[in-house]
Symmetry: C2
């Protein structure tokens, strides 16, 4: 922690006085008391960005799905499981935040007929039937807030990154969307980020996630609207 | 590790010369390259039993689904993700093992139409349709091997433990089945085990998982058939 503090001390304080809300990790959608639908997100990228934002002087709130990671030094973490939980935690904090960075891999759907007791194998050996309903679109909802935070989205794709990411940026209504290739980044310590904004896209060099996170924080700080004087 | 070795040294060597195969943790069934169906098993109980069996002098092979745990000292771990992977790893080791303890929370079904690329939200906003097919029943298959290992099953139930567990023991064809209440044991450090065998059931007192694991190993050792002299 001392070393973290020393490194943090020497980072430029580009986000001093800013409140940054970040989501990270997977969500876990209940099928029954023991079974869940989730995804392979390790949370490493979101945690690295939380650390980098804190190093840059921001007050950081990290809304995290289930991960095996420790909260970065000085970051306030709120633990959630499902997308609905994450939505509630984010909406409670969004209005007071200057920046919202949506890194979590939020499930698009939840199980509509989740069971309160463990599903048993049926006598006829047929699988249970799962019905799905859509989860709230947390990023689009925060982006649509009247005087909400400046929003950054993430897109993990397995193919056609450029096409999917730019379309997602426009659909969500956010000024900046960060793309990466899921099969390269998932659970890895390295990543290769591409920034999509209204002027086009900008590929950043492959790097360790904390280095990439510091570069991303710098890019975000540079684009933030100047604060009105108090 | 030194302390582990000291504690292990003073445990009675009830399983000396025995080869014990254990499964632990959840399985992770692929929906697409990023989404999975899994369960809340932390792997703690299986890892505790692996440690206790090693302390009791056994050679221990631990086939483990994805967990955040380190392999216990002296235990050989084989990492797997899906039930199909776990089945293959277990069947490769079962014939050479004296005891098989199936602690893993193996998914009953896998996704039959898993996708090689990330499923996109459909334009009409409707959820994707998942089809399921049954996974192999690893415990029943090992129990049915002609000269296979002595088998111990686990049943994590949320209700009607006694009824479900005794029925499961008979259905799987195993001499010993260990039941616990899922909502109490999942991810906890304590557990309350109930042993089911052909004579009835025996409730063990609540205990830390490693203490409970040592008691269970003792119960298993006591029930093992005497080895034929070489």
């Amino acid at each position: 922690e001392l070393l973290s503090e020393l490194i943090a001390f020497f980072q430029p304080k580009l986000l001093a006085g800013r409140r940054v809300l970040i989501t990270a990790g997977p969500t876990s959608e209940k099928i029954d008391p023991v079974r869940v639908i989730t995804n392979r997100s390790s949370g490493k990228m979101g945690y690295a960005i939380a650390r980098a934002a804190r190093e840059a002087g921001a007050e950081v709130i990290l809304v995290s799905g289930p991960t095996a990671l420790a909260a970065p030094y000085g970051v306030r973490r709120i633990d959630v499981e499902s997308a609905v939980d994450m939505h509630a935690a984010v909406m409670a904090e969004a209005g007071r935040s200057d920046v919202f960075i949506s890194v979590a891999a939020v499930a698009d759907w939840r199980v509509a007929n989740a069971s309160d007791s463990k599903l048993k194998k049926r006598a006829d050996g047929r699988p249970p039937s799962l019905e799905f309903e859509p989860n709230p679109d947390i990023l689009a909802e925060v982006a649509a807030l009247p005087s909400g935070p400046w929003c950054v989205g993430f897109a993990a794709e397995t193919e056609n990154l450029e096409e999917h990411a730019q379309a997602k940026r426009v659909r969500k209504g956010v000024p900046l969307l960060v793309g990466n290739l899921a099969q390269r980044a998932m659970n890895a310590d390295d990543t290769e980020l591409v920034l999509f904004d209204e002027t086009g896209h900008h590929a950043m060099p492959p790097a360790d996630k904390i280095i990439a996170a510091r570069r991303l924080v710098e890019q975000i700080a540079r684009r933030l609207p100047v604060r009105p004087s108090p």
